[in-house]
Symmetry: C2
Subunit: 154 residues, 2 copies
Amino acid sequence: MMVSTKGRYALTVMVDLARNCGDGYVSLSDIAERENLSMKYLESIISILNKGGMLNSLRGKNGGYRLAREPRDYNINEILLLTEGTLAPVNCIMQDGVQCDKAATCSTLPLWAGLDKAIENYLSAITLEDIIEGNRKKLLGDYCESCGPADSGN
Amino acid sequence: MMVSTKGRYALTVMVDLARNCGDGYVSLSDIAERENLSMKYLESIISILNKGGMLNSLRGKNGGYRLAREPRDYNINEILLLTEGTLAPVNCIMQDGVQCDKAATCSTLPLWAGLDKAIENYLSAITLEDIIEGNRKKLLGDYCESCGPADSGN
DNA sequence: GACAAATCCTACTCTTTTGGTAGGAATATG
DNA sequence: CATATTCCTACCAAAAGAGTAGGATTTGTC
């Protein structure tokens, strides 16, 4: 599994906030209840998002969190990168440019590099807005069977 | 990390066999030495490949393994799928069609499904032959900076 | 000023996965 | 029959994953 619950729940939280933006600050307990997830666990996850500048927070009564930008201005790659640390499919792809000592002669490395790029490419093209709007064409691309002209709306 | 050493080493073994095909059976100790990997560990990995019908094997002296098909007839997706069990980026994407009970209303599921497809799509299009030939255009696609006309050969 | 509701922070823990190792049985060749 | 090989089962230590626990701090309201 490339993405753990940490990244998955982080995205869930971001989507939840995107849906409820404009209503001031949203408390974590509300999110946890709506999404049916452990509030204590979400706490540690939302803290990463907050420190990473994805959110604004307010302590105390009526406090909570809200998105720092518009939903369309977040791409999924940055959200997952922040929470997961890396999305590299194998650990011989380093995010900071450091390389395995066999890299120069490794014949499988280009495959992993290509896979890494394919993943990044996909995730970078999707925004939070695409998700809340259920933009199936963009999310599922050519693979989406129900994206034809007969489909309703999106 | 989506792909563990198991899948990575499996691919390394397959590439090694592809490079040395035609020379009869190749012993595991030869592969382990060439690739500088633990023979004992490779044993457990090559056993998966063998049982999955990817290889032919011969016991006893002068025995070993060889590819069951031509390098061009293996795609990377099937090799990794066999050794890793699944390549799904999150565990809410089930390979056997079983779904999470929230699937119908989950707004993030299409993203994970799309990512899963993007990965499968990439890996299915690459063959063992592409790797041994170092087909950078196919492996790295549009992201390959050295694939331009100025590049040598491929 | 007390209280309640919220974020913030540190530490702990249980389970599963990963990445192997060890030892020997079965089999084919010379 | 000796040797080189695959095959098979079991074991193990370290790391990662998935949370829990408990409390300190801050802020709005009565």
